[in-house]
Symmetry: C3
Amino acid sequence: MSAAVLSRQEGAVRILINNNPATRNAIMPGLYAGLPTALAAAQADPEVGAIVLTGAGDFFCSGGDLNQLATRRELPLAQRREKLEGLHTLIRAIRNCGKPVIAAVEGGAAGAGLSIALACDMLVVARNAFFSVAYVKVGLTPDGGATAFLAEFVSRQILTELCLTGDRITSERLHAMGAVNRLTDQGAALAEAVALAARLATGPARASARIKTLCLHAYGADLEAQIELEAQLMVESQGDDEATEGIGAFLAKRAADFVALRGKPNAH
Amino acid sequence: MSAAVLSRQEGAVRILINNNPATRNAIMPGLYAGLPTALAAAQADPEVGAIVLTGAGDFFCSGGDLNQLATRRELPLAQRREKLEGLHTLIRAIRNCGKPVIAAVEGGAAGAGLSIALACDMLVVARNAFFSVAYVKVGLTPDGGATAFLAEFVSRQILTELCLTGDRITSERLHAMGAVNRLTDQGAALAEAVALAARLATGPARASARIKTLCLHAYGADLEAQIELEAQLMVESQGDDEATEGIGAFLAKRAADFVALRGKPNAH
Amino acid sequence: MSAAVLSRQEGAVRILINNNPATRNAIMPGLYAGLPTALAAAQADPEVGAIVLTGAGDFFCSGGDLNQLATRRELPLAQRREKLEGLHTLIRAIRNCGKPVIAAVEGGAAGAGLSIALACDMLVVARNAFFSVAYVKVGLTPDGGATAFLAEFVSRQILTELCLTGDRITSERLHAMGAVNRLTDQGAALAEAVALAARLATGPARASARIKTLCLHAYGADLEAQIELEAQLMVESQGDDEATEGIGAFLAKRAADFVALRGKPNAH
């Protein structure tokens, strides 16, 4: 794994760290391959129930490296496009990972850093952190899904303002907008994210993966398409040992033990 | 009509009651056919201007019957899928009904009960009631449109949390999220819903049906498709006696009387 | 330009005024052609960085002229449909204009007036102003994109209520719903909108046009489609003198001067 990504295990939680603290964790080329590789490893490991993505030191990610972006215009269009694919691959790796990925944000998330934070399934943010679409300030335009992710929860009027001004969004405002799962004291985002991840890790792993799929497809989908996807996945869930355990525990008025089923094939 | 659904008329308002109070109105098989039948009857009756859907006693609906769900894995996939269609038919019946359907929620709405409440056109909720996506707690995944309906107004980050934890959402929180039309004192949801329905019943019936169609199609639709639908329906509305009455009353500075036109064919 | 639209320049801001104050700026036939023409002129003028749309006197727009609408039923369907196209052309002209269009709302915006206000990229509203979907009150149904624009930020339950009742929405409520960029004292909406527009006018013009495109496409779009659009426009932005100036200024720790590049072709 590239040094651009550090990895650490806490109980059933894999912590992945964007590691470039000298530049507030600006995106290094190594992150584009390193993070998908680290996510694939977490996905494959039965000891991992959920994943937390954070930044080294006290900042999540300041976005693209402007020294590198400054040289992009020297490249032909096709090569610029190719370089952008690295970010898309990373965004898709977060979404396609079958385990929940929680972003733990200290300090801030700007530009592509905001895109990465919002690509995650959940968001835990320190009260003093800020977010910024940023790009316009240097004459650029958003990428990495920033406009898609913001449009899931803000009005077009506010989306336009955020993108045209690049102004900072405080954690409190993002929380009021409804996109923050936990707002914490400064320095406490990682611990809170790990606690939330540890709780999710006690849930039914296969049902949770199906739920992640449903949540990702729910935005902009036609109702009939979403209902059809729900039905397909429900039928799978009904045949899963997780449901046998879950329903059985409920009817017996005991706590369900889904962890014992993690990584095991269905008995049926 | 099945005993799973009780029906009562108050003025121009048809009240439909999910009737299985012994299990907090868990969904009985009879509801799948009974509610669509009751809605079709309300639709056909010119005395009905709007519909309120509620639960018997002090609870809206606790969702699927877990004793029945426990046996689903014994069925082949195709039969499981077929059983699910009952819920979809019910959800579609609420949406396809040309008259407004208001959910009056006391106590709570969990699992498929939440899906049914959110499928309605409007939501009146007692302050002490709660909502829960629930499914994950028993190793299952949401159905009945739950993820589609929630995605219409919550962020993906919160949707994911609600679906992965199954945690309760208080009425106040759902109201703050913007999905509750009226928040009432405990025990007052039905009366408030009936009052709102009675008011809607004084409106232009055919224009109201067109408006319901527009509201259902507005989410996830392409702007041009939605504008086209608005235009088609506006052209119909312009040729309707309801518009003649409405515009005429406005220009004459008198109150419009749309009720007299209910169930009558256009004079033109 | 038709007298239905007045035009005025303040610095880099073009102010366009819906001018029919005798009827609280109800839509005159001249507005349908006049506003697109005025927007095209503002688009073509390199001195214009951003546009503010407002109403003459102390009201934004009271919607369609009911005396005219009353006669529509005499027309064949095809001609009614044709008349509606005027409004759609106007709505598309606001959206297709490559420069940001900010609505400055005093008094109120009702019916098609609400559609026009919400079609704009941003919204500045005086505290005492109100909004109303209105149509149902005269037996009509929404047009001009009203249901599409509202669905971008309100729940279906609230959208249905607003459309079925025609009730007034206060500025404060619309602000709480997240669709208002600036809430001002009575009489101060225009000045505040002009100040916001003047600030946007100092930004990179071509990047801003691309950002407007992204914001318009972000709602209801498939994530992959939106990411693809972001990538195409980012690749263009990277080759633009605006990015050279923006990134160069950032790295040199000086303020970027995008205004000097406005209306000039790329040096590359």
